[in-house]
């Protein structure tokens, strides 16, 4: 079962990386959104899978009565989902503002910090 989900995760990774390698910030943004899903599912898979039994202690008992899904990766992913949403929101605003300031969404044209023809390093002391 884990192997099947691992392959699905692989598809997520492949397509997100393909998007991130694009020349446009908006496609990169979409890639980042998919990448976070890929990473979250990796953690989920690595914690092993159990079908349909959530980690909940039934009333009148101190421990779950049957084998449940692993609660630890779920707790980690819950945190990760929220944080990746924050990241997503921040990058989105960044893309939007960069477009407003620079008039482009092409990363090839965003070269203000590192201009293509910088003067050579001075050789003196």
């Amino acid at each position: 079962m884990e192997v099947a989900l691992a392959i699905l995760v692989g598809c997520f990774f492949a397509l997100s990386i393909y998007l991130i390698l694009s020349l446009h910030t908006i496609r990169i943004l979409l890639g980042i959104a998919i990448l976070t899903n890929a990473v979250n599912m990796s953690i989920f898979t690595a914690g092993r899978l159990t079908r349909e039994v959530p980690p909940i202690v039934p009333d009148g008992s101190y421990v779950p009565l049957e084998a449940t899904a692993n609660p630890l990766p779920q707790a980690l992913i819950l945190t990760a989902i929220v944080i990746s949403f924050s990241l997503f929101a921040f990058v989105l605003v960044l893309v939007y503002r960069a477009y407003q300031e620079l008039g482009t969404d092409a990363t090839t044209e965003m070269v203000e910090a590192e201009p293509p023809h910088e003067p050579a390093t001075p050789r003196g002391y």
Binding site: C11, I26, F44, S86
Partner: protein
């Protein structure tokens, strides 16, 4: 003891304050610090002369055996007295020399910092302590050489000195660590007790690393260029650091290690060869100069070579000669440097071809110069003469090795005599030179007191030779040799081969002096013919280094985001595949698991969502497709027993889609992928490769047994201890509540950052703001 070593550091703090209140007279006040240290050290003379060795230990980082420990024996005591004693006169001299300089206080601070570092270096018993002070001398030397930092020559000299001595320092640290591992202790006093390391398997690397440190510091060929270049520093610095003290740190180290690393074939081969080469190179280069300071600097290089050569013989009498010569050199060279500075200060030039006839104008300076030059030339009755006699006594012999060392020493000494005589006589004798920039007159007392006292000491130590030998030279020679050296020098020479060699040296030196101009031009022509020197080599090395750095930088740091991402993903792929293939082997896949039809459904939904994002023709399609794959992920969570995750995921994806639709539709950008087909294929291949690497890693992880003890802990204690039935929630708000707090902070910071980004508007080109050119919102919907 620790206080004596650290006192100059404290004084350095107050030096600018003293200058602010006292002006240039602050030098007299600050000189009290080294004077007090000198008196403190002097109180140990009797005990050390009796053969005592005193260890002062303060714990510093005892867990690692690093102590602030100091070791007082004949060697470190004489060095301590030289550093503090000469330091007194250097501080007074600096007060007069830099009178009115706007960074006078800073200069005093640097000098005092150096003084403390140098004292710590020679007193340091713990090798790590010694190394720390060793590096501090390099750093303070850098600050002092580059003191006049507005001139490029000074900056270059400072950087060169730091690169060479700092690089040697790194080698030295490695050598010290190896030595500590080989002997089991890093206290020098205990290493000395253990005796020689010559048979140890690590002897060769230890020796080479320690010598790399010593040779760079003491300017041995080919590391010598930094020392003459350091003459860019103000003259008090040249007199103090680059003749009397710091450059002798390497010689000190070699002498300190002699009982441990010395007396092996390697030792008595490497040291005399490098020392001899340095002696001859230094004197030849010195003969070429017309600048008084440079002439002295090159003879300093030569003298350091002579000292290394002598220590390399491991012969007790030669070591005694080295001891006498080292003290003599500190006295006469420190004095001569101050004389040169005084001449420079009063006439405005240091070029002896533009000087002459200063004798009636500067009689006191002239007197000090003559006394120092006589000692430098090895003439009686000065301490330099005694040193040379003993040196010749120690090295004279007829086998090839001794003969070579003797010839090198005689020739080198003769040339040094000639240069010393030129420095002391040429500016003062003859008729008054009309090319001097200033009207010369005798300098103030602060400028001549130092040379006069040092020159007089060169005479006194020789005249009272028995006393000075018992108190200083004998204990120092014993410490270097590692045993009692049964040899007493005499001022009145015996008629023997040493005296003959001395006479040959003097005759040869006088001969060179009388033909000085011809010799100088001949040597100059010779070096001009060679053309290349190690100094240019340093420039070439630095340029090559910058060139390599530039190439590497331009390869990786192109300013193109795409290149950075490609490098990152290639690195990810390469980091995973080779270890998987060659170390662990590819993981077992096993049979493909049975999936129920709705699980297949989720998979199909997810993958079709992903593909739709990529091939979407319009922005809105892409956004909706992004939502589709996100919902598919939520369904995966739901199916595998994680309803909390599924709900959060549903919510987050819905929000993402809504926000994206709101924002992106305000931008007038083309949706299409702008990559050329070839690039699409290469990007696709890279994406597949990187994803395969990550997938294989994940499969490798899940094919290993899993440790569920943490999960079991949470499951067991969730209800009874934390009183919660939803274990995931209990983990988040109870067991790992601080993590959740951190998460909340991250969300808050992201929100603030978004707010700041939206509020922040650059004011340039308000009329060309792209937002006004953007498409009206929701244009997409209308299409």
């Amino acid at each position: 003891m620790a206080f004596a070593v650290l006192a100059p550091f404290f004084a350095a703090l107050f030096a600018p304050l003293a200058v602010a209140h006292l002006g240039h007279r602050a030098g007299w006040l600050l000189a009290l610090v080294p004077a007090a240290i000198f008196v403190y050290f002097a109180s140990f003379i009797g005990a050390v002369a009796d053969g005592q060795r005193i260890v002062f230990l303060d714990p510093w980082i005892p867990q690692y055996g690093v102590n602030l420990s100091f070791y007082l024996d004949g060697l470190s005591l004489v060095f301590g007295l030289l550093i503090s004693g000469i330091g007194v006169f250097i501080l007074i001299y600096a007060g007069g020399y830099l009178k009115g300089h706007h960074h006078h206080g800073r200069f005093f601070s640097f000098l005092l910092l150096f003084m403390g570092s140098m004292l710590g270096l020679v007193m340091g018993d713990n090798l790590i302590t010694l190394f720390v002070f060793w590096e501090l001398t390099s750093i303070t030397s850098f600050l002092l050489i580059g003191f006049d930092h507005t001139r490029e020559a000074a900056r270059r000299a400072a950087i060169q000195a730091l690169v060479i001595t700092g690089g040697g320092g790194l080698a030295l640290l490695a050598g010290f660590v190896l030595m500590g591992m080989a002997t089991g202790t890093i206290e020098m006093s205990q290493i000395l007790v253990q005796g020689r390391l010559g048979e140890h398997p690590w002897y060769v690397p230890i020796l080479l690393l320690v010598l790399a440190g010593a040779f760079t510091k003491s300017a041995q060929v080919p590391f010598h260029p930094w020392l003459p270049n350091a003459m860019e520093a103000p003259t008090p610095v040249s007199a103090y650091l680059h003749s009397a003290t710091m450059v002798k740190a390497g010689v000190y180290l070699v002498m300190r290690m002699q009982p441990v690393l010395g007396d092996t074939v390697l030792w008595s081969t490497i040291l005399p060869i490098f020392g001899g080469a340095t002696l001859i190179t230094g004197t030849l280069l010195g003969l070429r100069q017309t600048d008084l300071k440079l002439m002295l600097a090159y003879t300093t290089v030569a003298s350091l070579g002579l000292l290394v050569m002598l220590t390399g013989t491991s012969d007790p009498i030669a070591i005694k000669g080295a001891v006498l010569y080292l003290v003599a050199h500190s006295l006469f060279k420190g004095g001569l440097f101050m004389v040169a500075g005084c001449v420079d200060h009063e006439t405005g030039t240091r070029d002896y071809t533009r000087l002459g006839g200063l004798r009636p104008l500067m009689p006191i300076t002239f007197g000090a110069a003559i006394l120092c030059a006589l000692s430098m030339g090895g003439l009686p009755p000065f301490i330099g003469f005694v040193g040379k006699e003993v040196i010749y006594k120690g090295i004279a012999g007829i086998d090839p090795a001794h003969l070579a060392v003797t010839v090198v020493a005689v020739v080198g000494n003769a040339m040094m005599l000639a240069i010393g005589a030129a420095v002391a006589l040429k500016p003062f004798l003859g008729s008054l030179n009309s090319r001097m920039p200033k009207d010369a007159h005798e300098g103030p007392m602060a400028l001549w007191i130092g040379p006069v006292v040092l020159a007089a000491l060169g005479l006194v130590t020789a005249v009272m030779l028995h006393t000075s030998d018992v108190l200083f030279f004998a204990p120092m020679a014993d410490a270097i040799a590692g045993f009692f050296v049964d040899f007493e020098p005499h001022l009145v020479p015996a008629i023997d081969s040493a005296l003959a060699l001395s006479l040959v040296t003097i005759a040869l030196g006088v001969l060179i002096f009388f033909a000085y101009e011809d010799v100088r031009q001949a040597v100059d022509r010779m070096f001009t013919a060679i053309g290349w020197g190690f100094d240019q080599g340093f420039d070439q090395l630095i340029r090559a280094l910058i060139g390599i750095a530039e190439t590497v930088t331009s390869l990786f740091q192109t300013g193109q985001l795409r290149r950075y991402l490609v490098v990152t993903f290639v690195a990810v792929t390469l980091a995973v595949f080779p270890p998987l293939m060659f170390i662990d082997g590819l993981p077992e896949f096993g049979p493909f698991p049975d999936l129920s039809f709705y699980e297949w459904g989720i998979f199909v939904l997810a993958i079709s969502g992903l593909i739709a994002v990529i091939v979407a023709e319009t922005r809105l399609t892409a956004i909706i497709s992004l939502g589709v794959q996100g919902f598919a992920v939520a369904l995966v969570f739901l199916n595998f027993g994680a309803p909390d995750l599924a709900f959060t995921q549903f919510m987050v994806e819905t929000l993402s889609v809504v926000i994206l639709a709101l924002v992106l539709t305000r931008l007038s950008v083309e949706e299409a992928d702008h990559r050329a087909l070839g690039r699409k294929i290469s990007d696709g291949s890279l994406a597949v490769a990187a994803a395969a690497a990550l997938t294989l890693t994940l499969i490798a992880v899940v094919s290993q047994p899993v440790d569920l003890s943490l999960s079991e802990f949470f499951t067991t204690y969730s209800a009874p201890v934390a009183h919660g039935r939803n274990i995931v929630n209990v983990i988040l708000v109870d067991f790992r509540a601080l993590d959740t707090l951190g998460e909340i902070f991250v969300v808050m910071i992201a929100g603030l950052a978004c707010l700041a980004l939206i509020r922040l508007r650059t004011r340039r080109q308000p009329e060309a703001e792209p937002i006004r050119q953007a498409a009206p919102p929701f244009q997409e919907v209308a299409e």
